[in-house]
Amino acid sequence: MTLATWYALVGALLAALGLHGAVVRRHLLRKVLALNLAASGVFLLLVAPGARGPTTDPVPQAMVITGIVVAVSASALAIWLARRLHAETGRAALPDAEDDRA
């Protein structure tokens, strides 16, 4: 196995773990954590296959730098919405989260 394949596989695992966590965990900050993990996995999946040549492809690198900044913007907004919800209701999870365990 090559370096690139190994890190791409790690990325695939992280994406799956993050996806699971984002659905299963109820605390909104934990959902943000899980989505960030999934995003990191996707970033690895984008860059690692470009690292199979002698140099690493700069185009996916630039896309991932863009992605990291967009991810922190979205996370900041999500965290502020969670804080607002907590300030208004005293809860840190969405109200119907307990009832959708079918």
């Binding site: 370096l3 690139a4 190994w6 890190y7 596989l9 790690v10 695939a12 695992l13 992280l14 994406a15 799956a16 773990l17 993050g18 996806l19 699971h20 966590g21 659905v23 299963v24 965990r25 605390h27 900050l29 934990r30 943000v32 954590l33 993990l37 690895l44 860059v47 296959p49 470009g50 690292a51 199979r52 040549g53 002698p54 140099t55 690493t56 492809d57 185009v59 690198q61 630039a62 896309m63 991932v64 730098i65 863009t66 990291i68 900044v69 967009v70 991810a71 922190v72 913007s73 979205a74 996370s75 900041a76 907004l77 965290i79 502020w80 804080r83 607002r84 907590h86 300030a87 840190a92």
Partner: protein, 306 residues
């Protein structure tokens, strides 16, 4: 790239184990601290993959700022523990495993010959105005992405600002309840040593971006880290750092540069090789200022505006 070594196996396994542990941790604080650890190890993985630019962005933004935002939010949401230990839910687990399986299969069936774009970038690098391929892609070849990214940052700031001022439940962070300099000698000395250093590192990364790993995003994130440090140690940020024109500067200037090209008969954002360097330096400086202002403001929010 380099060969697969034992270090890479350990690093990859550590990343997966940390991810598992931070999702399963019963204590949210532990989860966030593990997330910051995860980010730092991930930036090491980026270095191993030959992507130092991504490593810098990951360490400063992914691990640093996101971690600070989460820790701050956890402190502001006291007594809101909604869950015990993690439970496995089978339908979700099957869905996530299937997604992971498809991704693994995609990785294992990639065509052997890399059909990347590094050749195309290298062939036109001279015309881009900068000597570092990643910066050339970010600001010139894929300028659209970066323009829209600055727009996303600005929108996030707008949305957080629109959420309006709220009193923070912690009295020590309430500007109306707080003494002016609550810091104590150790913190004060640390801040006075670290903040100038962060400004210097930010300026270096901005300057280096034209020919080496670095650039506006990493520089802006480092400067924002300085802003967060000041905020946490009770030093109020100057009002100008949060002003709307500063926050929108990068987006507005990049858009203006793009539109000026269109007005001169070229395509939107199509830079002439002779002018590209000067225009890109201008855009990078403006983008650094805006990124630093937005990221610091996303942390401080409207909390300190009285």
């Amino acid at each position: 790239m380099g060969e697969l070594e034992a270090l890479d196996l350990l690093l990859g396994l550590a990343l997966v184990a940390l991810a598992w542990r931070l999702l399963a941790a019963p204590d949210l604080f532990e989860g966030i601290v593990l997330f910051v650890t995860f980010g730092l190890l991930l930036s090491f993985a980026w270095v191993r993959l030959g992507a130092p630019d991504v490593a810098l962005a990951e360490a400063a933004i992914g691990a640093g700022l996101t971690g600070a935002l989460l820790l701050d939010a956890r402190g502001a949401m006291p007594g809101a523990s909604v869950e015990g230990p993690a439970r496995l839910r089978w339908p979700v687990a099957v869905l996530a495993a299937a997604t992971g399986g498809v991704l693994v299969a995609a990785v294992l069936t990639l065509p052997a010959a890399p059909a990347g774009l590094e050749g195309a970038v290298a062939a036109r690098l001279e015309e881009s105005g900068v000597a570092h391929p990643v910066t050339a892609v970010l600001l010139n070849f894929r300028g659209y992405d970066t323009l829209l990214e600055l727009g996303v940052l600005w929108l996030a700031w707008l949305a957080v600002a629109a959420a309006g001022p709220r009193p923070d439940p912690r009295p020590e962070l309430r500007p109306d309840l707080r003494a002016e300099a609550p810091t104590g000698p150790v913190l004060a000395a640390l801040v006075s040593q670290l903040v100038p250093l962060l400004i210097l590192v930010g300026a270096y990364l901005l300057w280096a971006g034209a020919h080496a790993p670095g650039g506006a995003f990493q520089a802006g994130a480092i400067l924002a880290g300085g802003g967060v440090l000041l905020r946490l140690s009770g030093v109020p940020l100057p009002e100008a750092a949060r002003a709307a024109p500063v926050v929108g500067l990068g987006f507005a200037l990049f858009l203006g540069v793009g539109l000026a090209q269109a007005a001169a008969g070229r395509r939107f954002l199509e830079l002439l090789p002779a002018q590209a360097h000067d225009l890109l330096v201008l855009v990078e400086v403006a983008a650094t200022v805006s990124i630093a202002a937005v990221l610091a403001a996303l942390f401080a929010g409207r909390r300190s505006v009285s």
